[in-house]
């Protein structure tokens, strides 16, 4: 299944953010913004591309708004009240509280000041907001059975959120605008390490790396302080929300520290009202402000005084916050006209101004005259301070977020095309993540993985974890569904370990992953065990003295053979002991899991306890260890050393009578009639001894390798003596 992403706004531009994402059969609209730079139909996203019939309720599952800026929420009342969208809309509590203020402020500016026909009315805004469900951060909202969304803190402005959306196995994040560094009133963006198929991120500062914000804040404060010290007036044009509060916090704090008495005014009731909201929503601000509010709410500004229009021309210094931010009209323009001609005064400008506004003209060069229309022109002699701090992340922040989340695909929006192209290059080359930056009305489709719901049986998991525990030389895991065990399991799961099992599919049932035993049980069948076996000859030599080893099996027992004139060398003695032991335990020469084969049963000198119990004799190792086990082991020890030196294995298990690697077992076979000896010509009895080997099919490749080694090597039994002392005690414990 693919995730399809239709960019209706903020594609290779900043403005009217709106992205429609189809994911797992659901269709979500992220943001529904307007473009402040256009007055014609380009101001809104082209909604007709969502649904030609105009049935938006059927075409969309829900709308999620990231924050209250108009380029993200501005078209919402139009879409709900005029276009008729009636489905669910989600935004955070602060956004739901503050968005209507922004919308109403904008509507008034448009209607009253530009004399334009209104796109939506006050009632439209109210009705629209009634349809909104407010959500909290990190709260997992179940939009429907399959779709869940979750908001993460984005910094940027109060209540800004990054939105995580998940349908079944597919997941994505739409960041909206965000800030990766904390500012005076907001924290930095925060998100969990999510598994994402797609990340859609803003890229306003796709190529900029910004230095410390505090330096630029100090600059701003210095400029303001200098101006009021000299008796000047400071005009701070801002939007009512966000920047106004941030700057006011900055000034209020500075005023307190510097003990300044110059009044600070807010021009609009709106801003004062907005402060009320900020006080209630303090939980969404920075940690510092949150911690302090129990004793004093930082938005109870101490130095802010109530404002009256008559104060504009009152003598003496003052600070005035006035809307709108880019001096495009309204009260900020009114005050600007009066204050601009005096060089004592100061006007601050926001970081970004749309072309056509007075703010934009002031930013481009330092004009001395501004012609508003044919009748009005303003003498500009005042100081200009452009603020360069922005609540958007810089390029480093974007890259940090991407490498933290490492999504499978990235789509860039909310930026300028050339810069986006550069950032895309970096993302693809540095992070290796495919990246797109579609233009408006373009769609991008990215592939996304999917899963099938299955049941997993206990026995399958037990096999898997047991196997891995053995691999990591742990004790076998006693498996149940208690937490303690899962703790260990999840640890194991962090490494890539391959689980093996069988997928069992039954009609009208959930597919099940089972173990082999589960399958047999299900089929009510018994396993037909297949063993592989081979009684393999291995060359033996004694570099110290030649030795008639192979006859050990038929020679008299060691106790009776002491008639030789010279006492034998130790190795010989040991070998005699070995052969004696083998004589008694002749039945050990059979495949462990295989049938008791005829060769064994026909031995003339079977021990008196009879063949039935013979295989069980092995269950008394301690006695045998004491009498014969040690030398016997040593031959196996020689073989196992050969194995260890030729193949990369360190976990050969040795017991007193056999060695084992995975399912491969080898034990000394002194039975000439062993049914697993395939006679291939006459073997040289004098220099060969036999190891009866067995293994299961799954280890066939390994076993063939080991057999190859056994065929090639020549075991030097004179080495047994040197082996003996250091290994004796070790073998005793087995």
């Amino acid at each position: 299944m693919a995730i399809e992403c239709l960019v209706l706004g903020a594609g290779q531009e900043v403005g009217k953010s709106c992205v429609v994402v189809s994911i797992g059969g659901r269709r979500i609209m992220f943001d529904c913004g307007m473009h402040m730079g256009y007055l014609d139909n380009r101001r809104y996203p082209d909604f007709s591309r969502i649904s030609e019939s105009g049935d938006f309720n059927a075409a969309l599952t829900c709308i999620v708004i990231t924050h209250f800026h108009l380029d993200h929420v501005g078209a919402l009342p139009y879409f709900t009240e005029i276009c008729g969208y009636n489905g669910p809309i989600y935004m955070t509590y602060p956004t739901k509280a503050l968005a209507p203020l922004m919308l109403e402020d904008y509507r008034k500016v448009m209607v009253e000041r530009r004399g334009e026909e209104e796109q939506f009315s006050f009632d439209h805004i109210v009705d629209c907001m009634k349809k909104v469900t407010a959500i909290d951060l990190k709260q997992v909202i179940q939009v429907d059975k399959d779709l869940s969304i979750c908001a993460y803190y984005a910094g940027h402005v109060l209540g800004a959120a990054m939105i995580y959306a998940k349908v079944g196995d597919n997941a994505m994040v739409y960041t909206g605008d965000y800030n990766m560094t904390p500012d005076r009133h907001l924290g930095a963006a925060q998100i969990d390490r999510l598994e994402l198929d797609l990340l859609i991120t803003e890229s306003t500062y796709a190529t900029t790396i910004r230095d410390s914000k505090y330096a630029r804040e100090r600059e701003f404060l210095k400029a303001v302080h200098k101006c009021v010290d000299a008796g000047g007036k400071v005009l701070i044009p801002t939007f009512a929300l966000g920047r106004a509060q941030e700057l006011c916090l900055l000034l209020d704090d500075y005023w307190e520290r510097m003990n300044l008495k110059v009044p600070i005014y807010f021009s609009a009731g709106l801003t004062i009202q907005a402060n009320m909201y900020y006080k209630m929503l303090i939980g969404w601000t920075s940690q510092k402000i949150k911690e302090a509010y129990g004793t004093r709410n930082a938005f109870d500004f101490k130095h802010v005084c109530s404002f009256d229009r008559s104060l504009v021309n009152a003598p003496g210094p003052c600070i005035l916050f006035a809307t709108p931010g880019m001096i495009s009209g309204g009260f900020s323009l009114e005050v600007f006209k009066q204050w601009a001609p005096s060089e004592k005064n100061l006007v601050t400008l926001p970081g970004y101004c749309v072309a056509g506004t007075v703010g934009h003209k002031l930013m481009s060069g330092k004009p001395t005259r501004i012609d508003l229309d044919k009748d009005t022109c303003i003498d500009v002699r005042c100081q200009i301070h452009q603020m360069s701090f922005s609540p958007h992340t810089d390029a480093k922040g974007i890259m940090d977020l991407l490498s933290f989340l490492s999504p499978k695909h990235v789509i860039l929006v909310h930026g300028e095309k050339p810069k986006m192209a550069i950032l895309k290059g970096r993302i693809e080359s540095e992070l290796g993540i495919p990246c797109f930056y579609p233009a408006n009305n373009e769609a991008v489709s990215v592939p996304a993985g999917q899963t099938i719901r299955v049941d997993v049986t206990k026995s399958f998991l037990r096999n898997h974890f047991n196997r891995n525990f053995n691999l990591s030389k742990h004790e076998p895991l006693c498996f149940s569904d208690t937490i303690i065990n899962h703790e260990e399991i999840s640890e194991i799961c962090s490494n890539e370990r391959i689980a093996e099992g069988i997928l069992l599919m039954e009609k009208n049932k959930i597919a099940k992953i089972v173990s082999e035993n589960d399958l047999l049980h299900k089929l009510d069948a018994k396993e037909h065990t297949v063993q592989l076996a081979f009684c393999c000859p291995v060359k033996v030599k004694n570099s110290q003295q030649s030795l008639d080893f192979s006859t050990g099996g038929t020679k008299p027992l060691p106790g009776e053979s002491n008639s030789e004139p010279n006492p034998p060398h130790q190795p010989e003695k040991l070998l005699r002991a070995v052969s004696g032991f083998v004589q008694r335990q002749i039945q050990t020469c059979h495949v462990t899991r295989g049938p008791v084969h005829p060769g064994d049963l026909m031995r003339p000198d079977s021990p008196p306890d009879g063949p039935d119990t013979a295989p069980n004799n092995l269950s008394q190792p301690s006695e045998m260890n004491a009498s014969f086990g040690t030398p016997f082991c040593s031959l196996l020890e020689l073989l196992s050393r050969e194995f260890e030196s030729k193949i990369d294995c360190c976990n050969i298990q040795k017991t007193f009578d056999h060695l084992q690697l995975k399912s491969f077992q080898a034990r000394i076979c002194l039975n000439d009639l062993c049914s697993y000896r395939i006679q291939q010509g006459q073997s040289d009895c004098k220099t060969e001894t036999f190891f009866c080997c067995s293994w299961s099919l799954s280890d066939d490749i390994l076993a063939r390798k080991l057999l190859g080694i056994m065929r090639e090597v020549e075991l030097d039994i004179s080495n047994i003596a040197f082996l003996l002392p250091e290994h004796a005690s070790e073998h005793m414990e087995m």
Partner: protein, 514 residues
């Protein structure tokens, strides 16, 4: 003055709280990829919750005292608790009523007696009063509850106002924060509408912070108060009252600031509800002999006991009980809406159970200090298989049953209590041979099959082993291999790997396997 030992210091409390991970409602908290914990509002108090906990093969809901509609906190979010296998029901708020009802009726109301076996198995086939879910939610969310509470509040408030009118002061020990806030609001509203000027005091070291806090947590409050946020009004009226100097908040009773503002009659909210600690005990000693004064006590506190240190008491006492959990008649309709398989129910509340009302789920009773073993309700673990891995499998239909099987190799990951099988980074080399065979291998058929493959073979000997039923046959395959089979076990003996594989392949062609 009673003497109390404080077992923990402020530093201990802070140290403890630092270890706490705060969560939002419906936030997913993962413990160790295995447990997923989520809290949902219970409506009892601001921030109080019920828990939904998911683990592999287990999931359950811890259901504590809950209130469907609250005047302060977010309502009881019971819909989010739907679908858990097990509900641990631990709302004990009805326990007092049960004892009363029970004594009253004489203990015969319930048909589930103590002697009954512990597990009542539900049987969905038994006809029972069927509630459509909507009807049930209507029953659960009926307005009666909140109206009743409001009536109670109005009654208490008017009683308080009457006392003040007669010149008596009123002492309200703070128990539940929500109740205190609501009383404060109602009292000040009524005073305002009657144009009465009676000072209200809140005396507590944490009051200032608590009041500030309540006005900054819209996300945690009921719909009615959230609406205030969207209208730009304060969430609670107390900030305004303080500004108007109608409400005075002091950390301590004895402070010069308080003495300046002090004036009787007055209404005082303070600690502690036991009346043995804090300013409450001091004010009680001042007012207990004044017949016009009033003490508001929550039910559950023994008034006689509480006032026993004061010999001559003429102070009026109003005892009131506020809703503190799920009403008994709503418990089973609620449980049936939550659709659990099993409910763990307090033994003390057993009288509430009738076999009729629990028929859609099983009941298991628990009591204090005894461990209850809860049967496992799911045999299998929940898992997911990535489709790209599934596409690499080679399923094979088994002719005997309507089953298809496929060997599977994948990377196993545990995430949020679910097992996920992904494609490993390296290609998954599925074994070409059938590694597991079942059914019997008929030697004669094997011989034929081997011969069909052009392999020279013959039966070498036939041997009846001790076990009479199993016949062991030995086939000599060319000169380099032998095969020994007794129907349930086969041993292939050869040094030649290719030959072994060939024999095995032949075998799997004549019996089932994977």
């Amino acid at each position: 003055m009673p003497y109390f030992i404080f077992y923990v210091s402020a530093a201990d409390v802070n140290g403890c709280m630092e270890k706490v991970q705060p969560l939002k409602y419906a936030e997913e908290a993962c413990y160790n990829s295995t447990l997923v914990l989520k809290a949902f509002s219970s409506g009892l108090e601001i921030g109080s919750c019920n828990w939904k906990i998911n683990a592999p093969r287990r999931n359950f809901v811890y259901l504590s005292s809950s209130i469907f509609e609250s005047a302060q906190a977010i309502d009881f979010d019971y819909r989010s608790l739907q679908g858990a296998d097990i509900i641990l029901f631990s709302d004990m708020s009805t326990i007092n009523n049960i004892e009363e009802d029970f004594n009253h009726i004489g203990g015969s109301q319930s048909d589930v007696n103590k002697d009954d076996k512990d597990l009542i198995l539900g049987d969905a086939s038994i006809p029972r009063p069927v509630f459509a879910e909507d009807d049930t939610s209507e029953l659960l969310m009926d307005k009666c509850e909140i109206l009743e509470e409001n009536d109670k509040m109005s009654f208490i408030t008017s009683y308080i106002i009457d006392s003040v009118r007669e010149g008596g002061s009123v002492l309200i020990p703070i128990g539940r924060l929500g109740v205190a806030l609501q009383l404060l609001e109602q009292i000040s509203d009524l005073l305002k509408s009657l144009s009465m000027e009676v000072p209200i005091f809140i005396i507590s070291t944490t009051a200032e912070q608590t009041l500030a806090f309540t006005n900054a947590i819209p996300e945690w409050l009921c719909k009615r108060r959230q609406e205030k946020l969207f209208c730009g009004e304060p969430l609670f009226g107390h900030a305004e009252l303080m500004k108007e100097k109608k409400l005075h908040v002091f950390p301590l009773l004895y402070s010069s600031d308080l003495l300046l503002k002090w004036q009787e009659p007055c209404i005082v909210f303070t600690l502690h509800w036991t009346l043995r600690l804090g300013p409450a005990s001091h004010l009680l000693s001042r007012w207990h002999a004044v017949s016009s004064c009033l003490l508001i006590l929550e039910q559950g506190i023994d008034a006689e006991m509480a006032l026993s240190p004061f010999k001559s008491k003429s102070m009026k006492v109003l005892q009131c009980s506020f809703l503190s959990g799920i009403q008994s008649h709503k418990i089973f309709p609620l449980l049936s809406i939550l659709r659990p398989k099993l409910v763990l129910f307090p033994d003390d509340l057993r009288p509430l159970c009738t076999s009729q009302n629990s028929s859609s789920f099983s009941l298991l009773f628990y009591s204090v200090n005894s461990t209850l073993r809860v049967p496992s309700l799911q045999d299998e673990f929940e898992g997911r298989l990535m489709t790209d891995l599934a596409f690499q499998l080679q399923p094979r239909r088994l002719f005997s049953k309507e089953i298809a099987i496929a060997r599977l190799r994948g990377k196993l990951v545990l995430s949020k209590g679910k097992y996920l099988l992904l494609s490993p980074k390296k290609p998954i080399n599925l074994p070409s041979l059938r590694m597991l065979l079942w059914g019997s291998v008929d030697a004669a058929r094997l011989l034929v099959a081997l011969k069909e493959k052009g392999i020279d073979c013959s039966i070498e000997n036939e041997n009846t082993v001790l076990d009479k039923d199993t016949k062991s046959l030995r086939i000599k395959v060319s000169e380099t291999a032998t095969v020994e089979t007794n129907g349930t076990e086969t041993t292939i003996c050869t040094e030649n790997g290719t030959m072994a594989a060939l024999i095995h392949e032949t075998m799997s062609s004549i019996c089932e396997g994977i």
